[in-house]
Subunit: 191 residues, 2 copies
DNA sequence: TCCGTAGGATGACCATCATCATCCTACGGA
DNA sequence: TCCGTAGGATGATGATGGTCATCCTACGGA
């Protein structure tokens, strides 16, 4: 073989990671085949040696995005010893950092409305990722019983997603930070 | 002239209304020139007799969408005599009706992430629409001073937008209604 | 009656994009 | 040394979509 073993897997992972950023930064069809391959230093033609079709890449890059953000949030929650884990998650999620760098943040804040419109086959897979995300966050949520935690999850994440989306529409950092702060205060005093 | 006076204005309005539904239902590039003109019973060629370019239509259809939803919400608020107006708004916004018919609902729930990515020129115009929307809703918000009402606006609308987006990703009506109910209860007991 | 014109239709152009057939190349095994 | 092949490159194809030049048509005014 021309390349050492494992090389293809590495390239594959690089493509997926790049695509997961692109898709979060520019939307579902910001991750065109040519653009994604260029990011990886390749040309568009080799794409189909790695993926059956574009949807396959889309699904993998979404999975990567969910894995990425849920990992980051879980880490923030676990490293917080002075306050409840859910508060650490709220503070991390509603930071200017994630607001201004969509490509590192939660895919729901950039893609939720678009994900509703993909074809049914893939919507099932995406739904599974969402359930996964929720299950990964539930242990950190406030409340005693699982039902309480689940209610908290939906309330908290709804607010955070909406707040980030509104903030991103505002032209000045100070305005964005203000909206984020309002949502943070609202949530932190609500449970 | 071939048509009675006012005919062109009527057709123009019809195109804009159709586009405002299409854009909410299928995203910014679901409102292609050909599709929008077909909706109006015309062919794609006549488009440029009505609009300078596609962005002009986009802007007009967004304006129409904001006008549409803020009118509906204001009406709901004003017709509510047994409860505070903001509660009527929350119940209307978080109804299965608007959840399942994106084309009649708030453009932010379908378009917010996409609007962040349009070119800078138009982003300014869109920001103005957002401010307009807020100013139209502020009088109905809970709180004494304007600052309180503004904080309430951002908290309430963040939660509502996020809740609708999450609900729309769920495959079954019962699941969607559950998420909407959670967000409703959360908001209605928060102010 | 007939001409000018507004509103719309036809058709073409160009760009972008997903997809894929085909070609190229350099390494490992024989 | 040399051949088979995996990984990637080139380039073509068809679809879609925005844009616009040009054509068509029927009404109002003279």
């Amino acid at each position: 073989m021309r390349y050492r073993p494992g090389h293809k897997a590495e390239v594959h992972q690089k493509i997926v990671k790049d695509a997961s950023c692109r898709v979060r930064a520019e939307g579902l069809n910001g991750a065109g085949v040519a653009a994604v391959m260029r990011d990886a230093g390749l040309t568009h033609g080799g794409f189909y040696k790695h993926f059956g079709n574009k949807d396959a890449l889309l699904l993998e890059s979404l999975r990567e995005a969910f894995r990425d953000i849920s990992g980051k949030l879980a880490r923030a929650a676990e490293q917080s010893h002075t306050e409840p884990p859910w508060k650490a998650i709220v503070k991390a999620y509603l930071s200017l950092e994630y607001c201004d760098h969509a490509d590192r943040g939660c895919p729901l804040t950039t893609l939720a409305p678009e994900l509703v419109r993909v074809d049914k086959r893939m919507r099932g897979q995406i739904f599974a990722e969402l359930v996964n995300y929720k299950d990964r966050m539930i242990p950190f949520m406030p409340g005693q019983q699982t039902a309480d935690k689940e209610r908290a999850f939906f309330s908290i994440f709804s607010t955070m997603i909406g707040a980030i989306e509104i903030a991103r529409m505002l032209p000045e950092p100070a305005m964005r930070e203000k909206v984020l702060a309002i949502a943070r205060d609202f949530l932190l005093h609500s449970f």
